[in-house]
């Protein structure tokens, strides 16, 4: 119906830009419309000559005579005539849409098919995967392959290219949609990728699709269209649909767990959510169950305590009338590493910011903060070093010395204090080693430290102004952005309204520094400045294997000195920021599992990355995994190098008994140990079928909406191929579409004239 009326598919109107193809000026159109309306009004409402009036009205004034003509019926007729004239004039100006369309035969389309277990759920006698294959092979792929190079990927923990859709079996690990999309974006950086079609139920997605991940995709303007499969509602049941938590962290850290709850038939009812760590309650909260359509996501922060493998449980107390109770509980495993990550903080002059950052981190004791401060021109005051030798010669010159840290903070240090080799080393630290870099504002920091021309500038989430005078010691207010509301870094309170209120009430910073625009992939969490000229204050982004942040001030110490000494705002902010900086920094030997919880199956893949102290991939290591089984027995297995992936080793194994398995991975080079890692997984039998695994439509809708794509159901899958033609990514041509031949205009003209005729006929001659 839409296309019959409007001639083009809806996507053309969503993506197109309105224009007049006649080339005549728009002001002339407006003038003519006003003139036409005026002439019509004159014709209809101008008072008749006195002689034409009945005798008793001949003494009427002009105003009285005008009032006689200006009747409601007359106004309706005038409105119809004026609208008709306006529409005709509008069409004469040739309204049109400009739209980017992919060049035929010159672009690539990526089709990502969810390979997770939930795709094997059956509905109406057909599994979701079978339905996906049918829709793809019958409706979508034939049309797409006619015009584009189509590449199909199976999405598990990453996007793996496959030769055809029949290779996808649904046996993959839980999918990581966000990471897979970001990885696809990176892998196809040099290809003309025109669009992505993700076929999924979104149900088994193991990872939050963060704004940062999406930014990478958005930066390329690649639209991600989603085809959602599977049922969307459940009946008289409450389910802990998902429990997400970082699989590894360090001792004494605080973690944030996301619990996704879905229900059917109990919307608005109260329920109790409990979070337990190794059997001990760490959080307990009362909540109202969400409406039927949308899941509710509860975010809970909790301390992980000492090192070791831990089981986290999220459960919902049974709701009255609930039949299926076995899906009210979810478990996840957390590996708490004993080693504290170390951050190297370089400060060019004594300043209060350093004192209070050190204090915030001292009390937390989850991260080792090592600092070097230039107290005088020739003296460096070191704190937190392991021994007198560490950093004795100043900032590290060798990769093996610097890469032992997981994060770097650079304060007010001019860029030329570092040698070019050291700056390159910092760049490699982020890009290759996967460390975090945080740069602070200051009179010799950021732009005023001449970093705009340094090799570090491209790493940062904001551009830097060249030249000086960007730093001012005037009080500055920090404003929380919409992205900041979602971020763990800027969460001062678990309640989002309370969080915003706390930010609004924070004292002003002692100073601030002007930075440039955020980069396409950056996330701005805080801003400062006047309402109409806000500039980023805190921005983050991923870069290479690592991440970078800019906090454009050296004056957050005021949050400590101007608030009650019991207030923890300053401490919480800095702990969260520095934790973010290092949490994902890999170790020399770092391992990941295809899935940490195995439901009714035992197959899993262990992948280990091995790097030497200079963070160069080690290809000649002997990597073994010692798996401690639930019954206490230990099996030793060897990981094999992965061809084409330097320094990567893999083990595909299988376990049969349910329970928790602790795996210790050791990488040796000859008799020398390169490093070790430990990771835990768990097999749970008889649990999976209790979980409904309904389609996560909001996730898929949000994903497509944020990337400029569309969400489709199986019923409208036939539109996908033609809609995908319109994209601003890849190799495109600018096309114009005339709007005047749209049937809706002719129907409208007809309707206007018919209405006028009918009304005049009914009211008699006017």
């Amino acid at each position: 119906m839409f296309e019959w009326l409007f001639q083009y598919p809806r996507i053309v109107f969503d993506k197109g830009t309105f224009t007049f193809l006649s080339g005549w000026p728009a002001w002339l159109l407006v003038t003519l419309i006003v003139l036409a309306a005026g002439v019509l009004a004159w014709r209809l409402f101008w008072p008749e000559a006195i002689e034409a009036l009945p005798r008793e009205q001949r003494n009427f004034s002009f105003a009285d005579r005008l009032r006689l003509r200006l009747t409601p019926k007359g106004i309706v007729v005038w409105a119809l005539q004026a609208s008709f004239a306006a529409l005709v004039l509008f069409l004469l100006w040739r309204p049109g849409l400009e739209i980017s369309a992919l060049r035929s035969q010159q672009n690539m389309i990526a089709v990502l098919v969810d390979d997770s277990g939930s795709m094997l759920e059956s509905e109406n006698g057909e599994t979701r995967l079978a339905l996906a294959k049918r829709l793809l092979s019958e409706q979508i792929l034939p049309e797409l392959t006619d015009r584009f190079a189509v590449k199909v990927y199976a999405v598990g923990s990453r996007a793996n290219p496959v030769a055809g859709i029949n290779e996808i079996s649904g046996a993959g690990a839980a999918s990581q949609l966000g990471e897979s999309l970001a990885q696809l974006s990176r892998d196809t950086a040099n290809l003309p990728l025109g669009g992505v079609l993700l076929v999924s139920d979104g149900a088994d997605n193991r990872q939050a699709i963060s704004a940062e991940l999406l930014s990478e995709v958005r930066a390329r303007r690649v639209p991600v269209h989603t085809l959602g499969l599977g049922r969307t509602a459940m009946e008289r049941d409450v389910e802990v649909e998902d429990l997400r938590v970082a699989p590894r962290t360090f001792a004494s850290a605080k973690l944030s767990a996301q619990v996704r709850i879905r229900q059917g038939g109990f919307g608005g009812k109260a329920a109790r959510l409990t979070l337990k760590l190794d059997g001990n309650v760490v959080a307990n909260r009362e909540l109202l169950l969400p409406d039927d359509a949308r899941p509710r996501i509860e975010e809970i922060t909790f301390p992980v305590g000492d090192a070791g493998a831990k089981v986290l449980e999220a459960s919902i107390e049974a709701v009255e009338g609930e039949q299926n109770l076995s899906n009210n509980l979810r478990r996840q495993l957390i590996n708490v590493d004993p080693d504290k990550p170390r951050i190297l903080y370089v400060e060019g002059e004594p300043r209060w910011e350093m004192k209070f950052i050190r204090r915030a981190m001292e009390e937390e004791q989850t991260i080792e903060l090592v600092s070097m401060l230039r107290t005088t021109q020739n003296k460096i005051y070191r704190q937190g070093v392991r021994d007198g030798k560490e950093l004795e010669d100043g900032f590290p010159l060798r990769a093996e010395d610097l890469f032992g840290f997981s994060g770097i903070v650079i304060g007010t240090v001019e860029s030329n204090w570092f040698t070019p080799a050291q700056l390159e080393l910092i760049k490699r630290f982020v890009d290759e080693r996967g460390g975090g870099l945080l740069m602070l504002g200051g009179r010799d920091g950021l732009g005023d430290g001449a970093y705009a021309l340094s090799p570090l500038e491209p790493l940062l989430p904001v551009s830097l102004p060249a030249g000086s005078n960007s730093f001012t010691r005037n009080p500055a207010k920090a404003f929380l952005t919409a992205r900041g509301e979602e971020s763990l870094i800027t969460r001062l309170n678990d309640d989002s309204a309370e969080n915003r209120k706390q930010w609004d009430q924070l004292p002003e910073l002692a100073d601030s520094q002007r930075v440039g625009d955020p980069r396409p992939g950056a996330t701005v969490l805080l801003e400062t400045g006047q309402a109409n000229r806000r500039t980023p204050l805190l921005a983050t982004q991923r870069f290479g294997y690592g991440r970078t942040a800019v906090f454009a001030t050296g004056g957050s110490w005021k949050w400590q000195m101007l608030l009650d000494h019991r207030d923890e705002t300053h401490e919480i902010f800095w702990r969260q920021l520095l934790r973010w900086l290092v949490t994902d920094s890999p170790r020399q030997v770092s391992s990941e599992l295809s899935d940490q919880i195995l439901f009714d199956r035992g197959d899993l893949t262990l992948t280990t990355r091995v790097r030497d102290k200079k963070w160069i991939a080690v290809n000649d290591a002997t990597v073994t995994a010692r798996v401690s089984q639930p019954n206490g027995a230990t099996i030793e297995q060897r990981l094999e190098p992965v061809s084409g992936q330097s320094g990567e080793y893999r083990l595909q194994t299988s376990v049969t008994s349910p329970g928790t398995y602790i795996t210790e991975i050791v990488a040796m080079r000859g008799s020398e140990e390169v490093g070790r890692d430990s990771i835990t997984f768990r097999r749970e039998d008889g649990v999976a079928e209790a979980f409904g695994r309904v389609q996560n439509r909001p996730l898929l809708q949000a994903l497509s909406q944020r990337t400029g794509g569309n969400y489709y159901t199986a019923d409208d899958a036939s539109k996908i191929a033609s809609d995908m033609t319109y994209s601003e990514a890849g190799l495109t041509i600018r096309e114009t579409r005339d709007l005047w031949p749209m049937p809706v205009f002719f129907l409208l003209l007809l309707a206007l004239k018919s209405a006028e005729w009918l009304l005049r006929r009914r009211w008699g001659a006017l």
Partner: protein, 266 residues
């Protein structure tokens, strides 16, 4: 005639000696606080560090010091002279002119380092003591100086007990990080004030030995650095006095610089 001339000479001599003696009297040479040091260049510059001097009420004493306030001792020349050295010897971005802060309002919280002199005469109200405690617990740092002997100690300690009734004043060991933040100070000797030049004594009252004390917080960090039986303020103020021994001035600069960098890092 000759007799009266002699009398005149004696009177003149007495007057000259008297004026000279008055000139050597501590703190008597510059009756008005702002008179003894010119306003330095760029006095309103916005900087990271400001030398904040604490204004406090004193015990009910009359006379000149009662009127002027013992908190103004050596003010402002000592402060300004010290900052000149601080800027030359360190990378601290410091303002050339000091700032006077009091415990009667919250402005003090903008200055995380504060200097108080002659605290052997202070007389804090409970409200002021509460504000000072809050200031120190938030992370502020107080350096006290130029009070001597057991009587002045008692007065100071009484004030501190109002601030921290349950926190002891202890000796700062020589190996405390505060003695190593910039200069490695192992020999902490007494630093006499300018009175040494006319009395020849290195001590005042019964304060024969220098005491380096402090009040620590729960994490083992010094919040209050106490220079008892020494006069670092005089040592800065008279850094340009040829007769005042250079070793005392140098030591005073080193100690204070250590205290400030410690306060900015701990």
């Amino acid at each position: 005639m000759r007799y009266s001339k002699r009398i005149l000479i004696v009177i003149v001599l007495f007057l000259m000696v008297g004026v000279a003696a008055l000139g050597f009297q501590r703190r008597m040479r510059f009756p008005n606080p702002e008179d003894d040091a010119p306003i330095p260049e760029n006095p309103d510059e916005k900087t990271e560090f400001v030398f904040a001097r604490l204004e406090y009420p004193q015990l009910n004493v009359g006379g000149y010091w009662g009127r002027r306030g013992s908190w103004t001792t050596d003010y402002p020349k000592a402060d300004r002279q010290f900052v000149i050295g601080l800027k030359r010897l360190s990378r601290i971005h410091a303002r050339s002119k000091e700032e006077v802060v009091s415990l009667d309002d919250d402005r003090i919280f903008n200055y995380p380092w504060v200097y108080a002199v002659e605290v052997g005469h202070w007389d804090l109200t409970q409200e002021q003591a509460n504000r000072l405690r809050e200031y120190l617990l938030r992370g502020g740092f107080l350096m006290v100086d130029d009070f001597h002997g057991s009587y002045e100690w008692e007065v100071f300690a009484a004030g501190m007990s109002k601030v921290f009734p349950d926190r002891p004043i202890v000796d700062v060991p020589a190996d405390d990080p505060i003695n190593r933040s910039v200069y490695e100070i192992t020999d902490r000797f007494q630093l006499p004030g300018i009175q040494y030049l006319y009395t020849g004594r290195e001590w005042e009252y019964d304060g024969y030995d220098a005491r380096w004390r402090g009040v620590y917080d729960d994490k083992g960090r010094i919040m209050v650095a106490i220079c008892h039986n020494s006069d670092l303020g005089d040592a800065w103020e008279h850094a340009d006095e040829p007769q005042y021994p250079e070793k005392w001035t140098s030591q005073a600069y080193r100690l204070t610089l250590n205290y400030i960098v410690y306060a900015m890092t701990h």
